[in-house]
Amino acid sequence: MADILKSTPVREQDPAERARNFEEVCYGYNQEEAMDEATRCLNCKNARCIQGCPVSINIPGFVMKVKDGDIKGAYDVISESSALPAVCGRVCPQESQCEAKCVRGIKGDAVSIGKLERFVADYALKNNINPKTPENKNGHKVAVIGSGPAGLTCAGDLAKMGYEVTVFEALHELGGVLVYGIPEFRLPKQKVVQKEIDKVKSLGVKFETNVVIGKSTTIDQLMEEEGFEAVFIGSGAGLPMFMGIPGETANGVFSANEYLTRSNLMKAFDDSYDTPISAGKKVAVVGGGNVAMDAARTALRLGAEVHVVYRRSEEELPARVEEVHHAKEEGIIFDLLTNPTEILVDDKGWVKGMSCIRMELGEPDASGRRRPVEIPGSEFEIELDTVIMSLGTSPNPLIASTTTGLETNRRKCIVADEENGATSKALVYAGGDAVTGAATVILAMGAGRAGAKGIDEALSGK
C-alpha cells in the first residue's frame, strides 16, 4: 500500500473501447486488491458508515473478514442485512451514503465500501454460496406485487421467516428496474441480476410473470379468492413524465423508459432480437439523473453523438458522480444551464431539432437547489434527430385505483408507514418507489425489509 490516503484503484474497461459495446464498464476488485483496500478500514467502534447505509449493513464487520481473506464469512455478514449485494455494490450512490460517512474520507479517500461489497457478492455468485434456507414453513401465504428491489427483498425476508410467498410481476422478466432500466454495462443481467434472483428463488419464493395487478387480477381478489393473508406492494414508479412542450409526440422523441426498455429488457441493441430501436445519429437526452446518464450512454453505444441537456449546472446533477465521470470519459457532451422550449419537427413528423434557452441559477428553491431562471433573449436551436426525455417518473395509478380503501397522496404515491410499511388498508403493506416516488435501489430494499417486518408482526401476532 503506497498511500494510505488513497483508495485502491479499480480496473475498468478502456473508455474508447467500451463506448462501442454493452460489456460491464467496471471490472471490480480481485481478491488481492479487495484485501488491500480492506486494510484501510479503521474498524471504528462507533461506525458512522453503518448509519449511512439505508439497510445498516455491518460494514466494518464484513470488511474485517475481507481483510482476513474470509470472503464467505464476509458474505454471511452482508446477507444478514442485504438480499442483493451484487446489485447494490454496483448501483448504490455510495458517495452520498455509506462512503460519505467514512472517517477515512475526512482526510483522503473514503474506503471503497461499494466495491468491496461487490467483490464479496460476486465471489458468492461465482462460488454458489447461497443464503441459508428456512427450516420451517409457518403456513402463512403472502403476495408480493412487483419483482423489483423492494419486492425481491420483502419476498426474500419473508421466505427466510418461513412464509409461503408468491411474487407477481407485470413484465415477462423479473427484476423491475434492474432489468428494464439499468443497462447491461452497469449491471449485467445474466451474470448478476438473474443469479441474485435465483438466490431468492432458492429460498422457496414462487414467481408469476405476466400478471398486471389491477387488470389480470386485483389485490382484493388475491386476498378474498386466492387465500393470501397479506400483500406487499412494491410496484415502483414507472410512469414517465414529459415536458408538455410542442413537438413531444413527434417521431424520434422517446421517454427514457421506452428507450431503455427497448435496449435493456428487449435487447434491441442485439440484432438477433426482434424489437427494433431507433438509435439516432445526433441525440439529446433531457434531464440529469441516473436514468438520463443511462439513456445517454446507451445511445452512444448505439452509435450516436449524444448531448445531455440539463437546466441546472454540473454541481446540481442528480446522477451519481461515478456515472457522470464515466459518461464524460466516453464522450457524452454536457449542455448545462440549458432548457428545451420546443421540439422542432419536419413536414413528415420527424424530429429535426430543438429550441432551447440558456438558464442561470437564482435563489435556492424548496428542494434546497438553486432555481434555474431563463436568460431573456438567449434562445437558440440545435439540430437533432432524436430526443430522449428523462424527467423522472411517478407511480402508476393502476394498483391504487383498483384496490378498495388504499390511500394515496397528491403525487399518486401510496401512503405507507416508514417503520413497517402499513398502508390505510388492513394487511396491505407497501414500500419502495410506489411510496416515495423515484428513489434508489437500496432505499427500496430497506422499505421491502420494513414491509416484511410489518407483515410478520401482523401475521404472527407479535
Binding site: 405476466n210 398486471v212 387488470k215 387480477t217 421517454s255 421506452e258 438477433s272
Partner: protein, 297 residues
Amino acid sequence: MYKIVKAEKLADLIYLMDVEAPRVARHCQPGQFVIVKIDEKGERIPLTICDYDREAGTVTIVLQTVGASTERMASLKEGDYFRDFVGPLGVASEFVHEDLEELKKKKILFVGGGVGAAPVYPQVKWLKEQGVDVDVDVIIGSKTKDMLILQDEMKAVAGNYYPCTDDGSYGHSGMVTTKIEALVNEGKKYDVCVAIGPMIMMKFVCLLTKKLEIPTIVSMNPIMVDGTGMCGACRLHVGDEVKFACVDGPEFDGHLVDFDESMQRQALYKTQEGRAMLKLKEGDTHHGGCGNCGGDE
C-alpha cells in the same frame, strides 16, 4: 408458457388462435387487449381480444401477418406455446359500465375494417348477451370476399350485418363509408358509432360521422412496448391532451383523435421492420442489404 389450443387460418394472411391464459380469460372485457411474445427473442405485440371462454380459461386472438413477428406467430400450430401472454390490458369499452336499460334504448352502429372485425365481435357479442341486440348494426369492410372473416359469428350476434368489399365481390360494393352514408340516407339513425380497423379507415369514418353528427368511438392501434403505461410509446393527441393508448384507451372519442399524427408515428420503425421481414424471408441467404453493397453500413 401459454398453450395454443386451437390455430386456424381464417383468410389469406389472417389467423385465429385460442390460447390458454386463465387469468386473462377470467377478467377480460370487450375492448381490452393482450400483449403476446413468441419466444425468448421475440418482441411484445399488442393484439385485441376477439373472444374468451371463462370456463375453459382460453382467450381468442386474431392476427394478420404484416411483418416478421406476426409472420413467425402465424407459423405456430395447435399445441405450440407462446412464451408470454399478458392481459387483459387497456380499459373496457365504455358501454360495459353503462346502465343496461339506457343502453337498450340506443341504436349502435359498429364498423369493422379488415382484421378489425375481430375486435368488433366481442363487443357485439357482449351486447347481444345483455339483450341489446335489436338495433346493433354491423358493417364489415374488406378488400375482397375471401378476406371477410368471422361472418357466421357476426351474423349470429348482430342485429343487421352488412358486408362490404372494395372490389364488389360480395355484399355492398365499396368502402364502409359509402355504406354508412347509404344507411343514413335510408333513414337510419344512430346514437353512437364504434369503428375499428386500419387508422386510415377510422379517420375517414370519423370525418363522415362528424358531418353526420354521430358520436364515434375508435380503437387506436399505435406502436406499444410494455402496454402497462410505463413508456409512452403509444402516446397520441386526443384533443389538446396527450394520452397513452395502452392505459387511457385503446378506445377514444374518434372526433378528437389526431389521426395524421398517429399514422406518422406508426411509420417510426418502417425501415427496421422492412429489414426484419427481408431477413426472415431470405433466411440464411440474407446479407443485410442488396447483397452487393453490404447494406447501409
